[in-house]
């Protein structure tokens, strides 16, 4: 039972490089999310998707793009990485709109931008 799987787990980039983080879920969930976690700030929502082919901005979307071409996958892209994007990134998914459903989280991607 894989749940939510994030790849890669660790990555070091140089400023200006680009990369894509992949999130895959096998629970047939409609909603998927990308968060970033920084010390003392909890988790902040970057982008989210309410279904295949749809994406929307969250609280801190600048510098990131996302795509949801398949229901089970949600990709987070950094076009030109900046040191301020050094963080731990978490993907989450939930079945649907009902807000009493808990979100399921991946194990995170630790990204360092030099």
């Amino acid at each position: 039972n894989a749940g939510v799987t994030q790849t890669p787990k660790f990555r070091v980039l140089k400023t200006g490089q680009s990369m894509t983080l992949l999130c895959a879920q096998d629970m047939n969930h409609e909603y998927m999310y990308w968060y970033r976690q920084d010390p003392g700030m909890g988790l902040r929502l970057i982008h989210y998707s309410v279904g295949e082919g749809t994406t929307a901005k969250g609280e801190v979307p600048d510098g990131y793009n996302v795509s949801r071409l398949k229901k089970q996958n949600f990709l987070l892209g950094l076009e030109s990485a900046a040191p301020s994007q050094t963080s731990v990134y978490f993907c989450a998914s939930v079945k649907g709109e009902t807000s009493n459903q808990p979100q399921h989280f991946g194990d995170g991607t630790r990204l360092s931008i030099l």
Partner: protein, 115 residues
């Protein structure tokens, strides 16, 4: 504005001692409340959740939390802490906003356990 406050950034307790982690929220509607735990290098695991009904909810690993509407609080408790409980704990409030299932997280409380 919707928000979650966890007043304690770090807490240290001795193994076997009781634990209470505080959480206060601000939310315009009936809140759905969650506690998650994050062990070092891991993702977030759901400990417990409150939607309605009994204000004292039981979770995994011997944790419980009490919803107090009058105090806008949802404090997490455990009668006897084990060394394996050392982790970071996040309180979150959920709701449907703008047509999607939205979670707002507190900044977290890091728990250290002395042997």
């Amino acid at each position: 504005a919707q928000s979650v406050t966890q007043p304690d950034i770090h807490i240290t307790v001795s193994e076997g001692a009781s634990l209470e982690l505080r959480c206060n929220y601000s939310y315009g509607a009936t809140p759905y409340l969650f506690w998650y735990v994050q062990s070092p290098g891991q993702g977030l695991q759901l400990l417990l959740k409150y939607f309605s009904g009994d204000t004292l909810v039981q979770g995994i690993k011997g944790f419980e939390a009490e919803f107090k509407r009058s105090q806008s609080s949802f404090n997490l408790r455990k009668p006897s802490v084990h060394w394996s409980d050392a982790a970071e704990y996040f309180c979150a409030v959920g709701g449907v906003a703008g047509g999607y299932n939205k979670l707002i997280f507190g900044a977290g409380t890091r728990l250290a356990v002395h042997p």
